[in-house]
């Protein structure tokens, strides 16, 4: 077993994803505790451009067209060999739509322990954020090699940036066989509003229980010259399109005003709204994590608040 920390860098469409820098920041802390090196593993055809800003000791790259669009078969083939050969102390993956397709499969294949939803490290202990951010769980990183999926929020992306590490190129062989193949990317319809550019967002979550009440939310957004966005549950129910999704697999937003209506504030949602100027949250649960991030809070049912607020706004407009 080596003392090194391996980071599986995530990128898509020629862009490094922010979680990669969060992982590099976490890896730095771990390497300090183990005395090992931070090795960023980059599976891409475009290594030079992508890895310039990595805070790592080495970038190990595998070049192959099979990595161009994420393929878990191709990635897993390389990762299996890499982890067996390197025997790192820890391997970091994103707790993302990419990393979660890899870490568990690898854990089962190599019979190595896995820790999920890790937000930060303290020496060689992990702290995971579970139950929608309401509970933290701490433990020692299991041996010999701990596979870890990391959530954002524990470290700033800047901490994972700022070096121009040497690149070590390795040959990727046998990665052509893909049992899951990309047919096409489905680009979001461009006719819809771009919520990442709106100055006012009226965002709704699970607390909105009847689809008919969406009409009130639309009216409020209209009155505030903003747009309606949503957290995961309402998009999964099909009430709003994916283009309106704020969160991990949706968009990060930075409005002047973010109204969080019936949104509990799960970590994957909160990470996407932290750059909002003002967050105003309405929720019936006084312990909802969203109140820890919002500047203003209201503990009230939406069906009570919305009609009264709309009426008042109409009056203000008339007067």
């Amino acid at each position: 077993m080596s003392a090194n920390i391996l980071v599986v860098a995530e990128h898509l469409h020629g862009q490094v994803l922010d979680i990669t820098y969060v992982m590099l920041a976490g890896a730095r802390r771990l390497a300090k505790a183990t005395g090992g090196k931070v090795i960023a593993l980059l599976l891409s055809e475009n290594v030079q451009a992508l890895s310039q800003n990595f805070n790592a000791d080495i970038v190990r790259s595998y070049n192959h067209p099979a990595f161009e669009d994420f393929s878990n078969d191709a990635y897993l083939h390389v990762l299996e060999g890499e982890v067996k050969e390197e025997q790192p102390r820890v391997v970091l993956f994103g707790h993302t739509t990419i990393g979660m397709d890899l870490a568990s499969v690898l854990s089962a294949r190599l019979d190595l322990p896995l820790v999920s939803q890790v937000q930060r490290f303290e020496a060689l202990n992990f702290i995971s954020q579970i139950c929608g951010g309401k509970i933290l769980a701490e433990g020692a990183l299991p041996e010999p090699t701990a596979l870890v999926t990391m959530t954002p929020g524990g470290y700033k992306t800047e901490e994972g940036q700022g070096q121009n590490p040497p690149i070590e190129t390795k040959q990727a062989a046998g990665v052509e066989k893909k049992r899951a193949r990309l047919v096409r990317f489905i680009e979001p319809p461009i006719s819809d509003v771009d919520i990442s550019k709106e100055a006012v967002l009226v965002s709704v979550g699970r607390g909105l229980q009847n689809q008919e009440d969406l009409a009130m939310v639309e009216r409020l957004a209209h009155a505030l010259h903003g747009a309606v966005s949503a957290s995961r549950p309402l998009v999964d129910k099909g009430w709003l399109p994916t283009s309106r999704l704020v969160g991990k697999s949706g968009k990060a937003v930075r409005p002047k005003l973010y109204l969080a209506l019936g949104i509990s504030g799960a970590p994957e949602h909160v990470e996407a709204i932290t750059n909002s100027e003002i967050i105003l949250a309405v929720n019936t649960d006084p312990n909802a994590p969203i109140f820890d991030f919002a500047q203003y809070g209201v503990e009230m049912d939406l069906t009570e608040l919305l009609p009264a607020l709309l009426e008042k706004l109409e009056q203000e407009k008339v007067s």
Partner: protein, 253 residues
């Protein structure tokens, strides 16, 4: 085509959660469990495929408070066969669950295994992806729609940034479901009660659990908030008046 759906119960996040005396686990005494919401999408996707292309749907779930209701509800929605895994459920982690399900595969012969992409209390990976690793089957997670085209699955996978991709997957395969093509259907309680009388739950003892690969928790605690919102209090009219003031200062009105 045989479809296997894995469902499990997870703590209801609307209820207040507390830590037990050991300081390493949730206090289960007052804990209310609900079916993991992503597993409900997986079940819906299986029933939709059954309606579209014909399939035999088996639902398997580890023993837990409320699991029999969840299984009978699945039958009322159209599941054909129900299995409850019995044994030592309190120690069950995702690695042990995946191994228990892997042991059922030769008898059940599924072409497709569907389960929720994750549960909010997962600490040792995701049962679906672990199962795919054990079986050496293809795996795609964050799936929000499945079609069967010429003996292959065509799935819609979510990537970061709201990007969707269509992926063709060789069968047999395991899919981690984020959302189904259509929202989960509602079934009236009378239908569930009917299912309780007509359907049977096959109990299978999973014996001694193999939990290796999981994590050991030394401390569980609630996060300390770094800050807290200024709460607007009073009756509805007072709150609304204050809200409008804030909206005006922010320049939104």
């Amino acid at each position: 085509m045989n479809i296997l759906v894995i469902i499990k119960m997870a703590p209801d996040l609307v209820e207040e959660l507390s830590i037990d005396a050991s300081g390493t686990a949730l206090d289960t005494q007052w804990l209310r469990l609900l079916p993991n919401e992503f597993d409900e999408f997986a079940l819906e996707q299986a029933i939709l495929l059954k309606e579209r292309v014909g399939a035999n749907v088996t639902v398997v779930a580890p023993q837990a408070d409320g699991i029999e209701d969840a299984l009978f509800t699945a039958a009322a929605k159209g599941a054909d066969h129900l299995i409850e895994l019995t044994g030592e459920p309190e120690n069950l982690n995702n690695h042990a669950l995946a191994r228990a399900i892997a042991a059922l595969i030769p008898a059940l012969q599924p072409t497709l295994v569907l389960t929720g992409v994750q549960a909010h209390n997962d600490l040792d990976g995701q049962s679906g992806a672990l199962l795919a690793g054990l079986l050496d089957w293809p795996y795609v997670g964050y799936v929000s729609g499945v079609q069967i085209v010429e003996r292959k699955a065509h799935v819609r996978k979510e990537y970061p940034g709201g990007l969707l991709a269509e992926i063709e997957v060789d069968l047999p395969a395991v899919l981690g479901i984020q959302a189904s093509d259509e929202p989960p259907r509602y079934v009236a309680f009378s239908k569930v009660r009917q299912a309780m009388q007509s359907a049977t739950i096959e109990k299978r003892d999973i014996g001694v659990l193999n939990c290796s690969g999981g994590t050991v928790i030394s401390r569980m605690f609630q996060p300390e908030a770094k800050g807290h919102a200024k709460m607007l209090t009073g009756d509805t009219q007072e709150v609304v008046a204050r809200l409008v003031e804030i909206l005006q200062t922010s320049g939104a009105v």
